[in-house]
């Protein structure tokens, strides 16, 4: 979480895991098309959505992320043919478990964004950032030692 000193308004910290072949390229296209989305979103490039270990997501929350979003190729379009199918199951179960533990389920999300969907990428990020801003600071799933 970062607090902007001047305005004191809440600026969320959002980590986005994007697969190299579709979503990262989609993010690039959003940039090339000059479609803006909040700077709160920081992208981490992974080869495939199936590379995203639930531990990475929990780690991000631990260190102070307010929202984590994972983007991959649309089901059926995976560069590695089946990666996102596994990712889809893993994330479904992880999110369900987080919800079960009473953690805000809106703080995590999976979106499928293709390399052609720059506009959609920007839209998704705007929407997600708006949602996280509404939810405010993540208190339920963070390590107190990492709060500033």
């Amino acid at each position: 979480m970062q607090v902007n000193e001047n305005s004191k308004e809440f600026k969320p910290l959002i980590v986005a895991f994007c697969c190299n072949w579709c979503s990262y390229a989609g993010a690039d296209l959003a940039g090339t098309s000059r479609l803006s989305y909040p700077a709160d979103v920081k992208i981490i490039r992974v080869p495939c959505s199936c590379r995203v270990n639930p531990m990475f997501i929990l780690k991000a929350f631990e260190k102070g992320a307010d929202g984590v979003i994972m983007c991959g190729c649309h089901p059926g379009d995976c560069h590695y043919t089946t990666g996102n199918y596994y990712a889809r199951r893993r994330m479904t179960l992880l999110f369900s478990m987080l919800d079960y533990l009473g953690v805000d389920k809106e703080r995590v999300r999976v979106e499928w964004v293709s390399a052609a969907e720059g506009q959609r990428f920007a839209m998704v990020m705007n929407d997600f950032a708006k949602k996280i801003t509404e939810l405010g600071e993540n208190v339920k799933l963070g390590d107190i030692r990492c709060k500033k």
Partner: protein, 344 residues
């Protein structure tokens, strides 16, 4: 001897808590634990053993011991303040009281553990005599009198009253501080307390483990026991879960861990267990590659190595927590017996 009506106990607790942190067994979330007393907590007078021992009052499971960080290419250490000195621990059973002395021998010997010392110094231990032991109790094996435990002050409950007997100067001073809450015990009260002790001792004699002895154990037994093939059989069932070490009032091994918060490194120590595969892991590996060695280590430490370094004092106090909590029921009693420590 002083006395106080049980109904007035909370008054006493309130008075103590005003001056010092007071910890005592209470029923909390469905189990009996040592908890810092706050208004509304009631002393769980009938409970025998808390799940975890009170050792974490002086030796917490996790403790931040130092912080450091990098600033540019500079390295800065931020020392952690020592904990506040002195608490009152109320309702300690004889076995747990002895465990404090076992820990003292380790942490207060040179080099002194300053964190432990800061907590332990000025603390007052008020013990509670046992009247209704459970089948897993065997403190008498280690020379503890559970019906008249040591400590700074010892208490007995007779009917609706609690009786306080001073055992140390520290205890004397403590009672004096709250003198106006107590009344002086009468002469026949002393007999009544003796009677409670007598009855309790009779029950203790009937316990299934009453005949357990430490015969054959002691500081000089390393060579005799170390390579005994029995260890292999005894340790077969052990899952290496470490539950025994975590509920044990005398296990004192710890590990040092660093945590990166992003801004600094927090160095803390936390309980460790010799039952774990990675216990005392070094660059070359571990000296105890299988569960047999780890299992042997725990019991040899309690019954041989510790006595060797501490004038024959065993570092088991017979509280029986490990007997109760081991998921596969392999425990120190079985070890003692396997090597012949049973009079029967």
């Amino acid at each position: 001897m002083k006395k106080i009506a049980l109904s007035k106990l909370n008054e006493l607790f309130a008075a103590i808590a005003k001056d010092t942190e007071l910890h005592l067994p209470v029923n909390f979330k469905g189990e009996t634990v040592f908890k810092k007393w706050t208004e509304g907590d009631n002393y769980a007078k009938d409970s025998l053993k808390t799940v975890k021992s009170p050792k974490d009052l002086f030796f917490p499971q996790n403790e931040n011991i130092s912080n450091f960080r990098k600033e540019g290419n500079k390295f800065i250490i931020d020392p952690v303040e020592l904990p506040k000195s002195g608490i009152v621990v109320f309702g300690v059973r004889g076995c747990d009281e002895q465990s404090f002395r076992v820990l003292d021998n380790v942490f207060l010997a040179e080099p002194v553990d300053t964190f432990y010392e800061a907590r332990r110094k000025n603390s007052v231990i008020i013990t509670a005599a046992c009247t209704k032991p459970s089948e897993s109790c065997f403190c008498k094996t280690f020379g503890i009198d559970p019906t008249d435990p040591a400590g700074d002050v010892t208490t007995w409950i007779v009917d609706d009253n609690m009786f306080f007997a001073v055992k140390t100067e520290k205890g004397e001073a403590f009672l004096a501080k709250y003198a106006d809450i107590f009344t002086e015990a009468e002469e026949d009260d002393t007999y009544r307390v003796e009677n409670v002790k007598y009855l309790a001792n009779q029950i203790f004699a009937k316990l299934p483990l009453a005949d357990l002895t430490t015969e054959g154990w002691g500081g000089d037994k390393t060579d005799e026991k170390f390579d005994d093939p029995k260890w292999q059989d005894l340790s077969t069932a052990c899952l290496g879960c470490g539950t025994c070490t975590f509920v044990c009032p005398t296990c004192q091994c710890y590990d040092i861990r660093d945590y990166n918060t992003g801004n600094q490194i927090q160095r803390s120590r936390c309980w460790d267990s010799c039952m774990y595969k990675d216990f005392t892991m070094c660059a070359h590996g571990t000296a105890r590659p299988t569960q047999k060695e780890r299992y042997r280590q725990r019991f040899m430490h309690k019954l041989v190595y510790y006595p060797a370094n501490n004038d024959g004092m065993f570092s088991c106090v017979g509280c029986g927590r490990c007997v109760d909590k081991c998921p596969v029921q392999t425990n120190i009693v079985k070890v003692i017996k396997a090597f012949g420590g049973d009079k029967k």
